[in-house]
């Protein structure tokens, strides 16, 4: 009886640490006791470093190596030749790839501008306390939760010239015939069609980040500004905007990197067409790597994109740190 009571008491005072220590087999415990703290730390960190090297660093080094060869993944037995910088030279003198870059720049620029403007405005409005505030937040956030493949497919229907709701709405406001224009089929409209869909889908994400920024501003700052008789306009530009700026920059960084490698949504919507007007770099890269099987060439292409994104992200992180320091 006494033994049982002591056992129960021991169980009650047992911490997770002692429980883990008791669960360790004696042979393992003996081995661990002989290790230094540094060695134990390496045991814990080791698997992560190994995975990082195996999944990220090794493929990157291998891709750099492949970018200097004429390797084709569909002909693994063919002798691989080192071609020096020829792949890079061919990519950087190719006018088609230049056009793809311009299509990507158009997509990137307009999606970021629209998402930041609309996202911030929505966040500003949602931040005001009103009835049904939470319901509206949920409704606005819904598009972000959908799969890009689903979004691509149903927007394809919305853009249909005969039955599409989008064409009818545009026709209602402009007085044009709904079937007189084709968003996905016309060279001048197709780049805008992907911008609209991406903005529709990802503005809620920017809105959520901005909302987090707006809600982090303490009320007393506005109260102090009111006492100093600062106008609403001045409060907006000297309190709200500077304090939301780090959040906004983070949103731009996330959306910029994501849109630079945009693939699924655009493939579902236009497949890169008409012609190659919406063929973004990632779509072109996929075609080179897995349709034409020019692995060496595609590797050089991927390295060019990687350096661009890495460079941009470096500047951006620096700017973000500066804004945070202010």
């Amino acid at each position: 009886m006494g033994h049982l009571t002591t056992g129960k008491l021991c169980q009650m005072t047992e911490t997770p640490l002692t429980r883990a220590a008791n669960a360790t087999p004696p042979s393992v415990a003996r081995k661990i006791k002989g290790l230094s703290d540094r060695a134990i730390a390496w045991i814990f960190v080791g698997p992560t470093i190994f995975l990082l090297l195996a999944i990220n660093i090794f493929p990157l080094i291998w891709t750099i190596n492949l970018s200097f060869t004429n390797f084709r993944a569909n002909r693994p037995n063919r002798e691989v030749e080192y071609v020096g910088l020829r792949n890079y030279e061919r990519i950087l003198t190719d006018t088609d790839i230049w056009l793809n870059m311009q299509a990507t720049a158009h997509f990137l620029f307009w999606t970021i501008v629209l998402q930041v403007l609309i996202g911030f405005t929505l966040a500003y409005l949602i931040n005001k306390k009103f009835k049904g505030n939470d319901l509206w937040t949920t409704i606005i956030v819904l598009p972000m939760m959908l799969s890009p493949a689903v979004v691509g497919n149903f927007w394809k229907f919305l853009y249909q010239p005969q039955i599409g709701l989008f064409n009818y709405i545009v026709a209602f406001f402009t007085g044009k015939d709904p079937s007189s224009f084709e968003m996905l089929g016309q060279v001048n409209l197709a780049p805008w069609s992907i911008v609209i869909v991406d903005t529709w889908m990802w503005t809620p994400f920017v809105m959520l980040i901005c909302l987090a920024g707006l809600r982090s501003i303490p009320d007393y700052i506005y109260e102090a500004a009111e006492i100093d008789r600062a106008s609403k306009w001045r409060q907006f530009w000297t309190i709200t905007v500077p304090m939301v700026m780090p959040f906004l920059m983070l949103a731009v960084l996330f959306r910029g990197i994501e849109n630079f490698k945009m693939f699924d949504l655009v493939v579902q919507l236009t497949g890169g067409g008409p012609g190659s007007t919406t063929e973004l770099t990632s779509i072109n890269l996929k075609r080179e790597a897995f349709e034409k099987w020019r692995t060496g060439y595609a590797s050089a292409y991927a390295i060019i994109l990687f350096v661009t994104v890495f460079g941009l992200a470096s500047i951006y992180v620096k700017a973000l740190n500066k804004v945070k320091e202010r």
Partner: protein, 62 residues
């Protein structure tokens, strides 16, 4: 301006970081601009130099 040049000569992080940032931004602009083909051709080397410089100068003293 003279402070900037002094900083460059003394290998300070600030001015060198600014040069690297300008190179990266210029490289990205050259890559995506629709005006001149030679800009596109030399964009990668500009971005690469800027990025490598950025990594190196981030270890310079403030």
């Amino acid at each position: 301006m003279s402070n900037f040049i002094q900083g460059l000569l003394r290998l300070k992080r600030g001015p060198w970081g600014l040069v690297a940032t300008i190179l990266i931004a210029l490289g990205v602009f050259m890559l995506m601009q629709p005006f001149v083909m030679w800009g596109f051709t030399y964009s990668f080397i500009t971005t690469l130099i800027g990025t490598v410089m950025f990594i190196i100068v981030s270890h310079f003293p403030e």
